[in-house]
């Protein structure tokens, strides 16, 4: 689960990680009120959406007067913000964070991720802050320092020293204490809130000698939300695509994609592989939809209804390998959905596995208009032909 920058900064503040003073605003006049209560000019007006690349899309702007704060806030709130991560239609901005502008001396990158190979959290520190860390690690790997953190010991003082004394040029030695404290607080936050990623980019050293988190990004482990009730409440439903939101209500794994072939599959791996064969056959999937290894009739009905409510879908492929899920259950779910919502696009069904004969029989007797594919390859080429 992702949260907004202002929410992440609230958490930073709670954990003693310095952040700029800021105010949240939902209207231009609130933005001005916010600026009036903060040190400045200058102020920074920051769009609060989850997608990255906000700066490139014009969602993070400097303002030097109250009029400029108002005008900038109005512009950001009135138009969808398009960034490299939002897709071409952009994302509507509902909230702004107004912050004091800081006099920056140096920028750093500080983050913690789960390192799957090391099977532990790993802290990443770089003196090339303010840039895409992935890019830096490709072009200048020597500037990206990574240390695994042992969960029984936690972040150790020597690790802060390893990071700090590698800086070139090295800041005043007295700064070690501040860096070290931010690093260990960030780790404490990561562990106690079940994060999957925390990122401060940039972490800045101001001209007055303070270390401050200028930006804040936190992702949480979805699997741990059951024990992070306060975090779960930070979820912003507006950040979800309408169909995504509906699917998550029904406990379905649905991800909207750019194509026009609706696909329903049981199991995440098989769903991905089905998307891939659709693409190899020359068509584009409209979605990833995994109804689960052991889906119920109701889940199948709901899944199919979600696909049918997507106006872009020109043909549907159902690919089921019945293991735990029985093919007859699938067939009943499909027939039920077809009774509730008319299926106007070609439907291709590929069924295999447990109770396959019974499933095929149910579909046949339903008078539904559909085609049967004998295997995955045939299913993909049949569905691709419908849209070519």
């Amino acid at each position: 689960m992702k949260i907004h920058e202002f929410q992440a900064k609230d958490l930073f503040h709670t954990f003693g990680i310095p952040v700029p003073s800021g105010k949240l605003a939902t209207t231009p006049s609130q933005a001005v009120d916010g600026a009036k209560s903060l040190p400045g000019p200058p102020w920074v007006v920051k769009a609060q959406i989850h997608a990255g690349g906000r700066g490139k899309g014009g969602g993070v702007r400097l303002a030097n007067s109250y009029e400029e704060v108002e005008r900038t806030a109005d512009e950001i709130l009135s138009n969808p913000l398009i960034t490299p991560q939002t897709g071409p239609s952009g994302q509507k901005v509902r909230k702004l964070l107004i912050e004091e502008g800081l006099d920056i001396n140096r920028e750093f990158y500080l983050g913690i991720v789960i390192d799957r190979k090391l099977e532990s959290p790993a802290m990443i520190f770089s003196q090339a802050g303010g840039m895409e860390i992935e890019e830096v690690s490709v072009k200048h790997p020597e500037l990206v320092l990574i240390q695994a953190i042992d969960v029984t010991h936690g972040f150790m003082p020597y690790q802060a020293r390893n990071f700090f004394y590698a800086l070139e040029p090295m800041p005043d030695k007295a700064m070690l204490k501040e860096f070290s404290s931010i690093m260990s607080m960030l780790y404490k936050l990561f562990i106690s809130k079940d994060c999957s990623l925390v990122e401060i980019n940039p972490l800045v050293l101001t001209r007055s000698g303070k270390v401050v988190a200028l930006d804040a990004k936190i992702n949480f482990d979805d699997n741990a939300l059951f024990r992070q009730k306060e975090i779960a409440q930070l979820h912003d439903p507006y950040e979800m695509d309408e169909l995504d939101a509906k699917a998550s209500q029904y406990n379905l794994n649905y991800i909207r994609l750019d194509g026009n072939i609706g696909a329903m599959v049981n199991g995440a791996g098989l769903a991905m592989a089905t998307m891939d064969v659709i693409k190899l056959a020359g068509a584009e999937p409209a979605n990833f939809l995994d109804v689960g290894g052991g889906a119920s009739e109701e889940m199948v009905t709901n899944g199919l209804k979600i696909i049918l409510s997507d106006k872009r879908v020109k043909a549907i492929l159902i690919n089921i390998f019945g293991g735990i899920m029985r093919c007859d259950v699938l067939a009943r779910g499909v027939v039920k959905a077809a009774k509730e919502v008319e299926i106007k696009v070609p439907l291709i069904v590929r069924l295999e596995g447990t109770n396959v004969e019974e499933g095929r029989e149910i579909l046949k007797e339903s008078n539904l208009d559909f085609s049967v594919a004998k295997d995955m390859e045939e299913a993909a080429s049949m569905v691709a032909r419908q849209v070519s």
Binding site: I114, D221, L270, A271, G323
Partner: protein, 291 residues
């Protein structure tokens, strides 16, 4: 032969009285798995499919001789169940549970290794040595005893592959789901090492997906150390970055874990990669025909 589980495997089911646990206990018994006991704390004295339910897994080991456990315990309690099994002396722990917090696994894995327990999963369909035993939730009837080892990060995708292998005339020695989570107990390499030493296994099918670098590491191992033919498939060529594709571990993040990179790594180490899953059976025929 086959690896890790066979006709001598004595299984204890943790969470046997739950809906999933009870259902799959029945399925496993029907397949021929020797389930000696079940554990649900506080429910000792009950029976599931005629199998005694115990309060403590320790009793399943000491009294009934269990050496393998199959976990159906809900996510909040699953790491406790794993540690319990390892401490009691279980050799192979198969954790079916999906949705365990990553940090729980980061803490559990070193503990299990210290006790010498081998963890399959979590978030796995389990492990099956066809014709001998199945410890997990996969449909038994699509499998056939034979000479191909299968290692996978997925569930139904593995069933699809196994079905194609069986239809192409290739039975399986052992099929293992290593699990779809970011942190799992055993890797592709752990099991490749075992398949290498297994006389029954003539070739291996490796099924990967986006996320992490386990396939890249396996590719290097196969070229350098593995002595049997391998066919690989990677799911998620069309997966968008930054989105979790169902499995907690199936996510392209920080520019890492792309299907393309994995496929290129496998190919560059001389491994046959099937791009179209529909053609896996055919490819297996070509690669394994002399094995």
């Amino acid at each position: 032969m086959g690896i890790l589980v066979d006709e001598n495997t004595k299984v204890v089911v943790q969470g046997i009285t739950g809906k999933e646990g009870a259902f799959h206990t029945k399925q496993m018994v029907a397949y021929g798995t020797n389930i000696v006991a079940g554990v649900t704390p506080g429910k000792a004295g009950e029976e599931v499919e005629g199998i005694p339910v115990l309060n403590r897994i320790k009793d399943a080991v000491d009294i009934y001789g269990a050496n393998t456990s199959c976990i159906f315990v809900p996510p909040p309690f699953a790491s406790d169940a794993m540690l319990d099994a390892a401490d009691a002396g279980i050799d192979v722990i198969v954790c079916i549970t999906e949705g365990i917090p990553t940090l729980d696994m980061i803490k559990a894995v070193p503990f299990l290794r210290k006790y010498g327990a081998i963890l399959i999963g979590p978030n796995t369909p389990g492990i099956i040595s066809p014709g001998k035993t199945k410890v997990g939730i996969m449909p038994g009837h699509i499998h056939k005893q034979g000479g191909i080892g299968v290692i996978s990060r997925s569930g139904t995708l593995t069933y699809e592959v196994v079905d194609q292998l069986t239809r192409a005339g290739f039975g399986q020695s052992t099929c293992i789901g290593i699990g779809g989570d970011p942190i799992v107990g055993t890797s592709f390499i752990d099991h490749l090492t075992r398949f290498r030493e297994d006389g029954e296994t003539k070739g291996v099918v490796l099924i990967g997906e986006i996320g992490g670098t386990a396939e890249e590491e396996a590719a290097e191992y196969i070229e350098g150390e593995f002595n049997k033919p391998v066919v690989a498939f990677i799911a998620g060529l069309t997966a968008p970055p930054g989105r979790r594709m169902g499995h907690a571990g199936a996510i392209i993040s920080g520019g890492k874990g792309k299907a393309e990179d994995k496929i290129n790594a496998l190919k560059s180490h001389g491994i046959t990669v099937v791009l179209n899953l529909g053609q896996l059976g055919k490819t297996a025929l070509q690669v394994f025909k002399d094995s």
